[in-house]
Symmetry: D2
Subunit: 363 residues, 4 copies
């Protein structure tokens, strides 16, 4: 259990890294949403590894198939099952995982939870490949949100110790996608590329931070006290492997701020009430306030590294030196950008449906 998320727009994940497929069932998409398979595919393509930016260099050519819920180019109101078949993967390199858990990986916790029955091949359910299903669901959610003018864009704001300071007007999906590291600050992007290359040479990996913004979100979305916007977004982000923290607006910097600094003052922009700053990240009391929603998500460095690491052989109890074989992303952050966008879309879509903003039939 635990493989479904959402209340009115319910996403159920299935599939394993080296199993037959990776897929998702989306239940709750209103009837009448025009959606082409190419739109879902293009979302899937965005999370492909790019070797120039720390990606694996593996050829992952996931092709989405729609098994149900879409007919004649529109959603029918029925559950939408989508999947991508896995190509035959070489699972040989993963045989030893069961007994010698890889540092930083979920091999050991999976063993604790599911015993030897866990599908350890390629990380199974704990692999980043699981997010292939997430972005399929996100493609549907984005289309639905677009009907209400809601747009979501994510971008890389930090890799290692290199921080980006993009001009707000550069933070568009188009511009972000032009950068191999998905960073809207060209100068920083260059440094990030260099850093990743260095790290890669060391057979090591590096972490980073993704920022996601949602524009034109109507005020009042969220269902406090427990189903807050921040809470549900965080829960969705933490489903992405390697996420270690989430903050909104001023985030952790708010610790050192005074109320007179942090409070966003109200003002009128035409007839619309706005705030002069956005330390709240567009959310107050768990509810959207009409300003852009701003969240930052930190990704730890990829656990799979070629560098030799110490672990333990669970059978013998002896210390073992381990080097994770195979090609692995040395920096997952650029590939995580679309996944973050899509999980944000899934959550906002759920709240929009709960609030009745999107109808049950789209005319």
């Amino acid at each position: 259990m635990g493989n479904s998320i959402g209340s009115q727009f319910i996403v159920t994940s299935f599939g394993e890294s080296h199993g037959r497929c990776l897929g998702v069932v989306v239940d709750g998409c209103p009837a009448g949403l025009p959606i082409g398979i190419d739109e879902i595919q293009s979302e899937l393509d965005r999370r492909k590894p790019q070797s120039s930016a720390g990606g694996t260099g593996r050829r992952e050519e996931d092709r989405v198939e729609v098994l149900s819920g879409i007919l004649n180019g529109a959603s029918t109101g029925a559950p939408i099952c989508m999947l991508a078949w896995n190509k035959d993967a070489d699972s040989g390199a993963y045989q030893e995982i069961v007994n010698t858990p890889r540092p930083g990986h979920a091999d050991y916790t999976a063993l604790l939870k599911y015993g030897k029955y866990n599908d350890f091949r390629g990380g199974g359910r704990f692999s980043g490949r699981i997010t292939a299903g997430f972005v399929m669901a996100g493609a549907i959610a984005r289309k639905l949100l677009a009907l209400s003018g809601i747009e979501i864009v994510a971008h890389t704001v930090q890799i290692g110790d290199i921080k980006a300071s993009p001009h707000p007007s550069d933070i568009t999906r188009k511009k972000v996608d032009k950068s191999a590291v998905r960073c809207a600050d060209t100068a920083a992007a260059g440094k990030m590329m260099k850093l990743i290359a260095e790290v890669q040479k060391q057979a090591d990996s590096i972490g980073g931070i993704v920022e996601v913004l949602a524009f034109n979100v109507p005020g009042g979305l969220g269902e406090p006290v427990f189903d807050t916007l921040e809470g549900e977004l965080s829960k969705a982000f933490f489903a992405i492997p390697a996420v270690r923290g989430v903050e909104f607006g001023a985030g952790f910097a708010a610790a050192a701020m005074q109320g007179s600094q942090h409070n966003d003052l109200f003002s009128l922009s035409g007839k619309k009430l706005v705030t002069l700053t956005n330390n709240a990240g567009g959310i107050s009391g768990g509810l959207s306030n009409g300003m852009p929603i701003v969240a930052r998500i930190v990704f730890k460095p990829t656990a799979s590294i070629g560098k030799i690491q110490r672990t333990v052989d669970l059978k013998t109890g002896k210390k073992v030196d381990l080097s994770v074989k195979g090609r692995h992303d040395s920096c997952i952050v650029p590939r995580a950008v679309p996944v973050v966008e899509d999980m944000a879309a899934v959550v906002l879509c759920d709240f929009a449906l709960r609030a009745g903003i999107i109808g049950r039939i789209i005319k």
Copy 2:
């Protein structure tokens, strides 16, 4: 909706800051848990304001009453309804909120969501007082977890720019409670007290960070891919007013780390597999790994400040200068410490029940 949390240990919140009461229904507590009303009361007492540490100076003497589910000092298996009656509160000062929303408060988003029908008095559902119900639920959860030896302790690690570096052995509930700011580092605690006093003099407020640790959590708790330990804990923490971010283990610092630094190496401690470091914060793949769970939660500075702030009169559209009257905490962090503990307890209890670690009848 949105006022319930949990799957097997379900907490439903009700009540308003200046309404008749603040309360909670806990559904899913197994029958046979010995629990005294004094134990619930003492949890409620811990979140009382302490004037010496930036608290309001208001006398909040919440007395818990148990309305159902506990008989002869033990849980019956039925829903446990608990509440504290509100003393007659002066709601006069809140009359103007509807038209002139207070910066940093949820007045405006509440208006967007619930219209003029919202209970604005004392912040209504968006007041920190709502957490009185949270700690009642937490008192039950803590008792249940204690049966399995699980202990949770939270402490203040930052207020303003003052950071604490307590000795690990000082991070016990007893020692933390001795400090007015609930900081286990005596030197830092002193500075924090001073800072809060200064800020208070300025009729301003200050933010901070709470760290929470859970010890003896058995491995394998969590229900990935969506109901991860991090995701559910975060969702619960974001229900506490003023939380702006949550991180686990190395957290945001992981952005600048390399895999070889961040990966926690495995080792044997007797027959138990442990990790030599705990950058994972006790969680891998959304599942507990047997090491202490470590999370940090950032609180923004209290929104209610005496300092004059600019806002807008929604009726006239004119700019208005506002000074929030009444006594307010200038730093909420020390009072948030037990609330964080209790929300962590609620979530861990839910996972323990989902995993079948706690039985349906306690013998």
Copy 3:
């Protein structure tokens, strides 16, 4: 767990028969619903025992109190907690239940589930008194449904072997409430009264059937394939103690019908598509079709009877003769009528909110 029902209109039940109170939390009522405490009270009054119709003769003067969620005569959008305090009850007669379970009662299954910790006093959570909370929630639901013109009326159609054949125009709430047995067929009502009196004399009890109709339900309510109208209504009805079966439209009689008899033919009534018969009971494919929804719910005879019955002493293993003391309803059916109405209202309200028919703020 299991004490909440609903997806968008969520009802959480708490309290015990001889505990401090019986109550309910309703989460999901949109803000702005005008609701007076007298309207909730009058719903509560309807389920009072009437000695003339097989009721207990006990004086049950439940007074509802609203603890949260309603302010100045309107819902605020926050959870509505309502309860009725129990008068001091004599629980002495229930002491022996734990060891000598009463035939037909839930004493034994409660023991299996909750052990000796169960609150056996007055039947605890398994008493019909639990429905006091149900009707409080129903009062809110009915008001919400009335906004869309939806009306629900239930009536007694069978007690013992006496069946009613009321004229359809007599099936109104007003007329039904005039009958002590809540039967809209005056002749049958008289016979029912007589039968109940006879049974009462024998210190025995008798079963019966309640029919519930919902008018003006818009077409398309329901969320198949699992959250069907029939399924959710049934689940709600089975929460009422003593219910043994639920059928819709032609119900069990459909077993002996041919398709050409059972299929309801379509026709136009003005511009509205109607069916010439209503064997479907207003539901097709789990969805409302615009015709009146018709369900029948069977109640077993009350388990508590004065007649001597054989049971077993669980401690000694010996056979014991038992006569249930205290005053008990010899026919629960008339009192169940409003409860059935209210549970139907709760379910329909939930579906109306899921379908977005009722908005989040009522203007």
Copy 4:
């Protein structure tokens, strides 16, 4: 939404009658359950139409494929996605449904809910073919329940006005499956066959009743007050197309019974407490009592009949005579028997997991 059922054993349905496939995702199956694809296939085979018993005569050769969650013949703990690909179906005959809704079918309510976007081909989501997914889930559930010795068997007890009175010892899966109408009373079975043949000749259809029994269910299963055994079983049964009513134990007959008749007297059978009769159908207070669970489910006659029926052309408003083309079951009851068994298994499995009777890893 509404396409998932269960709390710990969660079944999500997808696929359409004439879409690409019919499938299901089962989330919550503990790791380590040995399960062969042949076992799932054999469950699927049981619901195949049998021309000799009113079945369609269509060749429905559904082959199950497991896409995830099972590895090396055992469940991994991950979601199990299973499906059967649809053969190319001739959807031509269904073109006219949108404008001239078939009496007794869900065409019209589907139109109300999903508009013209609904997949009307072959009944889409409202076809009996949807239950192909249900039985796949049921196959898993049955295997899990078998670990605790729980066995479920269903059988036909009525078709038209012919009622069966099988000897209790004949109600075994094996014997039931030998009968083309799945009736354990050989004499009645013969008459049922004849009746179905007659009805078929008339291009008509006929209803019936299925009884389901669950043996060796441990006492105390169920989560009252809302998640009762009866409520959750009913909800699951009503997801099967054509179900119009559900009753437990004495069911509707209880209306005419007195308490002294209906109350099941307790007795000791060895050290086990049993009841001398089973009017309660194994359930008291929403909880299992250790006696066999007994439910009866009524199926209306199949809506698709060759006989000419009156309907309305929604475009022109004119009356139209309709004869449903294609081969259709003239009695669905025999094919419904395994589906009823499987839905009962799904629900009992969920309760067993909620009660912690089945562990998270099967050793």
